[in-house]
């Protein structure tokens, strides 16, 4: 956030530019048992607005959140729809448990679109107030279709029952200013301001494919607007393609019973118990309230999992320089930091007093939310930048420009390795010296993305397109780039080294949207604790945990309060994988779901898993509809599997030599490093294929990774188009 106040004169100038292009009136009705019962459709090409009913089958099959998003998007797009086609949509939803204020982590929105990076649906979850306020305004989801012919804002007034598409020529595009302008435009009192939330992006999203969405919430104590990011998959790029400056919702009057649950008492009991658990346990467990997710950086470095120099290595002697204490000095702890009411885990961190050293806002002292672990690991460790200030500055500018810090970090690290390998030269990069550790070059490339010029724009196309460009224009070795380019399905990897965890290689490679860790994180269970030794064990984990984590996205929930704090007796009552499931918290969610919806048929965690399984398989089939979704698209770069180069091998030679002897059955003595590397590679790549076979079998898919007809019937997703797709692919294939 910029600390400057928006003047009254500025607000009037913004208002003067507004011209209503379309208007829709509706009667606001209370949410019942967690559902508004309608979704909102907005088309910015045709300037049409309407409401659609949510029927019982939609609720039963897709639950809400990501499920509703995918169903609405499925019905909106064709198999040849591209990210920039007018029919592509951005769909945003909360979920039936969204907006509970008594339980932590209940304010998430889930955004879905056809991704510019992958060409398939991407789902990205985000804090901030938008999703719950949208629901309390009367809509379980918002679909935005079309491409406007001028800059617009979509405004939803949930108290008045009014939706408008308005021309908005004067507002800023960069989110850190725009979000403040929106709050000033639509909120007067502190309570009104807290009732306003916007979704926006920035100029960087216009010139790259890695644009993020910023979801805002107003912080009444600090009297400013804060931003949370739906980072993955380039949804911000789609928003700016549609010429939408902001989606805005205003709803004043959130209360602990706004969802009108079946059983408020149970929600209060479970919630109060959980607040107490966080009060007692967080300070001695993961210190989320103090450090946010960046407490992970030290842990990852200690376990050789922190990506260093484009995932070559898992640790670095200088990593200490970007551990939590170096960020704590920027953090201010004078207000609760939850990104929705009642989130006492409060991982959002408020960094203040950051004086910018570069870029268009150079010299300004700004504030920024974060940094998250992924940002520190991606822009810091992965690019070899051991400088907390540079990481925070990049974090600020990424948010302001609407750039995903994860794709930015991974794409930058790839470009840096290419530069160090001589594939890129200063002539090609326009003078940018992209050596690992060059913070100034990293920041300049980011500013180039905002200006739409220079080599930064190439980096902003993402790793998959960079590989093509470097091969076609600069004669790079395609196999080498395939090996070191950390993307799968077109999406950049998030920030964990998976070389020693076969299960997590699958966790990334099999993730529906591409390699993001929100679907599965199995590294400790697999590589550190050796709790899932066989292929069947790993396949079971790659069934349970992705389904379990999917459930949060169906309900408008954050995953963190599930296992980033645990009951005191969790590790004594339960062992191994059962402890990793945190059964008491699973039971909390069963109770919450039943208390909200009144669905007495939901009795156990297995009932929740089944909800996810339907949506998860549906998303897999959605990938198939878009021309992906089969085995070859689950391939992963070798950098995520094992050492690509001699230097990587030699850095952990003892470990790899031992594996050659004990696992591969090869005596490494007398072999060259390259020979040893090749022997290890053959073994590890074969292991990955065996894992895929086991996971497909466990999930009820055929050997090409397509859900069987039997499976889709069992899950109740046997819609005619789904059946036709599977039949066509099954005949064509095996």
């Amino acid at each position: 956030m910029e600390m400057k106040e928006i003047t009254q004169e500025r607000i009037e100038a913004l208002r003067a530019g507004h011209k209503v292009l379309a208007e829709f009136h509706y009667e606001p009705r209370p949410v019942e048992r967690g559902y508004a019962g309608k979704t909102l459709y907005v088309n910015v090409s045709t300037n049409t607005i309407g409401a659609k009913p949510v029927d019982e089958r939609m609720k039963r099959t897709f639950i809400g959140g990501r499920g509703f998003d995918l169903w609405l998007l499925w019905n909106a797009v064709k198999s040849d729809t591209r990210w920039d086609s007018p029919e592509n949509e951005i769909v945003i939803a909360s979920g039936p448990l969204g907006g509970i204020v008594q339980y932590p982590g209940t304010g998430k929105s889930i955004a879905v679109t056809i991704s510019p990076l992958t060409g398939i649906p991407v789902d990205s979850n985000v804090g901030g107030y938008f999703g719950p306020l949208l629901k309390f305004s009367g809509f379980d989801a918002l679909e935005v279709q079309g491409i406007a012919d001028r800059e617009v804002i979509v405004f939803i007034d949930g108290n008045a029952g009014l939706v408008q598409i308005m021309e908005a020529p004067e507002e800023s595009v960069n989110s850190h200013i725009l979000a403040e302008e929106i709050v000033a435009l639509f909120g007067q009192t502190p309570q009104e301001k807290q009732g306003v939330s916007s979704v926006s992006s920035g100029v960087g999203a216009e010139h790259t494919l890695i644009g993020c969405l910023n979801f805002s919430f107003y912080d009444p104590r600090r009297k400013l607007t804060r931003l949370k990011q739906a980072g993955r998959g380039g949804i911000g790029t789609v928003l700016r393609k549609k010429k939408i400056k902001a989606l805005v919702v205003k709803y004043v009057g959130v209360k602990g019973d706004s969802n009108h649950p079946t059983d408020l008492e149970t929600i209060q009991q479970v919630g109060a118990k959980m607040h107490r658990e966080i009060y007692e346990r967080d300070p001695i467990m993961f210190t989320m309230r103090l450090d946010g997710t960046n407490h992970l950086t030290k842990i990852m470095n200690d376990y050789d999992i922190l990506p260093v120099h484009n995932f070559r290595y898992g640790s670095h002697p200088e990593a200490e320089k970007i551990y939590s204490p170096h960020f704590q000095k920027y953090f201010v702890y004078d207000a609760p930091d939850g990104c929705w009411y009642g989130c006492t885990l409060a991982c959002a961190k408020f960094a203040a007093g950051l004086e910018l050293r570069t870029g268009p806002y150079k010299g300004q002292t700004v504030t920024v939310d974060g940094p998250e672990y992924e940002t520190v690991a991606g822009i810091g460790a992965n690019c070899g930048i051991w400088d907390a200030h540079a990481v925070l500055e990049a974090n600020f500018y990424c948010d302001a420009y609407g750039i995903d810090t994860i794709s930015f970090g991974t794409a930058m690290a790839f470009a840096m390795e290419c530069y160090e390998e001589g594939i890129l030269t200063p002539e090609i990069t326009g003078g940018l010296k992209l050596n690992f550790g060059n913070a100034d070059a990293m920041l300049e490339a980011l500013h180039q993305m905002s200006r739409g010029e220079g080599f930064g724009v190439i980096i902003g196309q993402g790793v998959r397109r960079m590989k093509q460009i470097f091969v076609e224009r600069y004669g790079a070795d395609p196999q080498f780039l395939q090996d070191i380019g950390m993307e799968a399905k077109g999406l950049e990897y998030s920030e964990y080294v998976t070389k020693e965890s076969l299960a997590q290689q699958g966790g990334y490679g099999l993730a529906n949207k591409g390699p993001q860790h929100d679907e599965a994180w199995l590294i400790f269970m697999d590589a550190v604790n050796n709790q899932i030794p066989t292929f069947e064990d790993k396949a079971e984990a790659l069934h349970y945990f992705p389904m379990w984590r999917t459930w949060f996205g169906l309900n408008g929930l954050c995953k963190l309060p599930w296992n980033d704090v645990e009951p005191a007796d969790n590790r004594t009552r339960y062992k191994g994988i059962e402890a990793a499931k945190v059964p008491e918290h699973v039971e909390n969610y069963v109770r919450l779901f039943r208390a909200m919806t009144g669905r007495d048929d939901v009795q156990s965690g297995a009932d929740l898993i089944r909800m996810s399984e339907a949506v998860y398989n549906f998303q897999r089939i959605f990938n198939l509809k878009m021309g992906s979704g089969t085995r070859e698209h689950d391939a992963i770069p070798y950098r995520s599997v094992g050492p690509v180069t001699d230097a990587e091998y030699e850095s952990r030679a003892e470990r790899y030599d031992q594996q050659l002897r004990e696992l591969v059955g090869v005596d490494p003595s007398g072999m060259t490093t390259a020979e040893k590397r090749q022997a290890l590679r053959r073994y590890r790549e074969a292991q990955y294929e065996k894992l895929i076979d086991a996971v497909y079998k466990r999930r009820g898919w055929n050997e090409r990774g397509i859900p069987t007809l039997e499976k889709v019937r069992e899950l109740g997703i046997d819609f005619p188009e789904v059946v036709a797709l599977i039949e066509a692919h099954t005949q064509k294939g095996t």
């Binding site: 309570q191 959130v254 209360k255 109060a272 607040h275 107490r276 609760p336 009411y341 006492t344």
Partner: protein, 131 residues
């Protein structure tokens, strides 16, 4: 300056009259689950007396600024601002921020002293302490 309900556990006889006075005053019914002071039997004729000491730690965890300290130093809840998230209930060091299941907003002792006036054992006193 802080107006606080002082408890003398050693004098408490466990009659629970304070709970009745409190719930009657603020909820118009006699119901210990609606009292801002709670008396629990500890055994050996000892009684625990749980009531807010006005430390104010809850103020910092409230996301809506519904909790504040008034001129008398008493921590109070603005019900119109409170969304009922119960963060304050979980984060109260003395577990004396209460809620009644089904009512959205929590409640707490505001040192009104009504219970102290009625206490037959003189185990309670509303006093103003220096900061």
């Amino acid at each position: 300056m802080r107006k606080v309900l002082i408890t003398h556990n050693e004098l408490c006889v466990g009659c629970h009259l304070c709970e009745e006075v409190c719930s009657q005053a603020w909820f118009k019914e006699i119901n210990p689950a609606k009292s801002a002071i709670r008396i629990t039997e500890l055994g050996n004729a000892d009684w625990g007396m749980a009531v807010c000491n006005q430390c104010g730690e809850c103020i910092a965890v409230c996301p809506t600024e519904a909790l504040y300290r008034d001129k008398a130093g008493v921590v109070r809840i603005k019900k119109d601002l409170c969304v009922g998230c119960l963060s304050c209930v979980g984060f109260c060091p003395t577990r004396t921020m209460y809620y009644y299941a089904g009512y959205v907003e929590p409640f707490k002792c505001i040192s009104c002293g009504l219970c102290a006036k009625e206490c037959p054992a003189e185990a309670l006193a509303a006093e103003t302490l220096p900061d």
